[in-house]
């Protein structure tokens, strides 16, 4: 059985972190398996964790009256899920649902925040990593705001 440290070393999204910082992260991490349809995060709940999807798919969604749940984005192998744990008031913004069986590494947000406060180099390393994710998600959102496939003249 592989250790959390070994699993973290296999996640491409975490490779930019210094090895010693990955090892520090391992102290706040544990393996999780989510069943199909299982709720991983719920809108409005305290944001006390983030995840790396090792294998599977997760739907980020919100319920729209008269439309039901609308999927905003899906996350897949290697993607990072959740950043509300990092920013006060640490409140989950959207629902996250496991679309099938999802294997993930879960990180304790409070544990990580404590380690980042104690070690600014770790905090900066982690924030650089997460900023890359923020930027990519923001660009995706902006592209979708353009509604590129709409009929000419619509919207």
């Amino acid at each position: 059985m592989r250790t959390i440290e070994e699993l973290l070393g296999e996640v491409p999204a975490l490779r930019p972190l210094a090895p010693e910082h990955r090892d520090t992260l391992a102290g706040c991490a544990r393996n999780r398996v989510f069943e199909p349809g299982e709720q991983i995060m719920r809108e409005g709940d305290p944001a006390d964790a983030f995840y790396v999807v090792r294998e599977g798919a997760v739907a980020l969604e919100t319920v729209v009256p008269a439309r039901g749940p609308v999927v905003l984005q899906t996350l897949h192998d290697g993607d990072l899920l959740g950043w509300s744990w990092l920013v006060p008031p640490y409140r989950t913004a959207f629902d996250a649902r496991s679309m099938g069986t999802t294997h993930a590494i879960a990180f304790d947000g409070a544990c990580l925040r404590g380690k980042c406060e104690a070690d600014p180099a770790l905090g900066y390393d982690l924030l650089k990593l997460l900023s890359g994710v923020f930027v990519a998600r923001l660009q995706d959102t902006r592209l979708r705001l353009l509604d590129l496939y709409a009929k000419p003249g619509d919207g």
């Binding site: 969604e61 999927v71 899906t74 192998d77 592209l143 496939y149």
Partner: protein, 272 residues
């Protein structure tokens, strides 16, 4: 290349989405036009309404052609309203073709958005018909929603093959959709191809293609390996009227399929 319309009869039609139809057209008389190559387009003429440039979405024998048309204006609405037995005027084939010869022996990645899958569909047919001539093949396709995706049953057949990777994403979906939600360029980092021996072909909204090209560059694909199909106001289709001019290029005859290193500097000029 026909500069006057040839009569084609609608042999069959199929609804693809709420506003998009595929029409099977057969020559109404013996005068079959020159054969189409994947990527080329025809000017389809709905009598009394006008002409519109439509790429060929499949190529049959005996001069028959297939076009997938989205009803976005008076002319395309009239074309989509044509019923089996009706006659449309067809001029063509026009324009440049996808670089299938250059792609032989190479990996191939196709990036399509929305109706942009239609001009790439004959490429898929060619790749699958002669699979041994090509390396890894990836088809990356995005649409506005699951209901807006073209050729659903055909895509499922492509997915069923073990020698092609097919990845589909949509901009928005309900929870009954079990596929990806996100933008097409985001599919590129995981696609299976060798950046040094790949030919990429893209068709879709121009902004989507710009971002997809950047994602390909981030994988190490050079611009001379990226081809895209551009859309401008093709009117005469013979390079005379100038409506489709992009700098020194006439998209109707120098395009629509162009290599990125040729066209990218022009795409960044806002006035063109």
């Amino acid at each position: 290349m026909a500069e006057l319309p040839i009569a084609f009869r609608v042999a069959d039609k199929q609804r693809e989405t709420g506003d998009t139809w595929t029409l099977w057209l057969e020559p109404a008389d013996a005068a079959a036009p020159a054969p189409y190559a994947p990527g080329q387009f025809a000017m389809l003429y709905a009598f009394g309404a006008g002409e519109a440039p439509i790429s060929v979405s499949s190529i049959g024998g005996d001069g028959a052609v297939v076009h997938t048309v989205r009803a976005v204006g008076a002319v395309t609405e009239a074309i989509c309203a044509a019923q089996p037995g009706d006659v449309l005027g067809v001029r063509g084939p026009f324009g440049t073709a996808w670089p299938l010869a250059e792609a032989e022996g190479q990996d191939v990645v196709l990036v399509a958005g929305g109706i942009g899958l239609a001009p790439l569909r004959p490429v898929v047919h060619e790749l699958l018909a002669h699979r041994e001539r090509y390396g890894a093949v990836s088809i990356l396709y995005g649409g506005r929603s699951p209901a807006d995706l073209l050729y659903i049953s055909e895509i499922e057949r492509w997915r069923g093959r073990f020698d092609v990777d097919v990845d589909v994403t949509v901009d928005t979906a309900g929870e009954d959709w079990h596929g990806r939600v996100g933008v097409v360029p985001r599919l590129i980092p995981q696609a299976v191809f060798d950046p040094g021996r790949v030919v990429a072909m893209m068709c879709g909204p121009e902004v989507m293609m710009r971002f997809a090209a950047v994602a390909l560059q981030d994988r190490g694909v050079s611009d001379d390996r990226i081809w895209l199909s551009l859309e401008r106001s093709m009117t005469c289709a013979t390079g005379h009227c100038g409506h489709c001019q992009l700098g020194p290029l006439f998209i109707c005859k120098d395009g629509p399929v162009l290599r990125r290193d040729v066209v990218e500097p022009l795409m960044r000029v806002a006035e063109l």
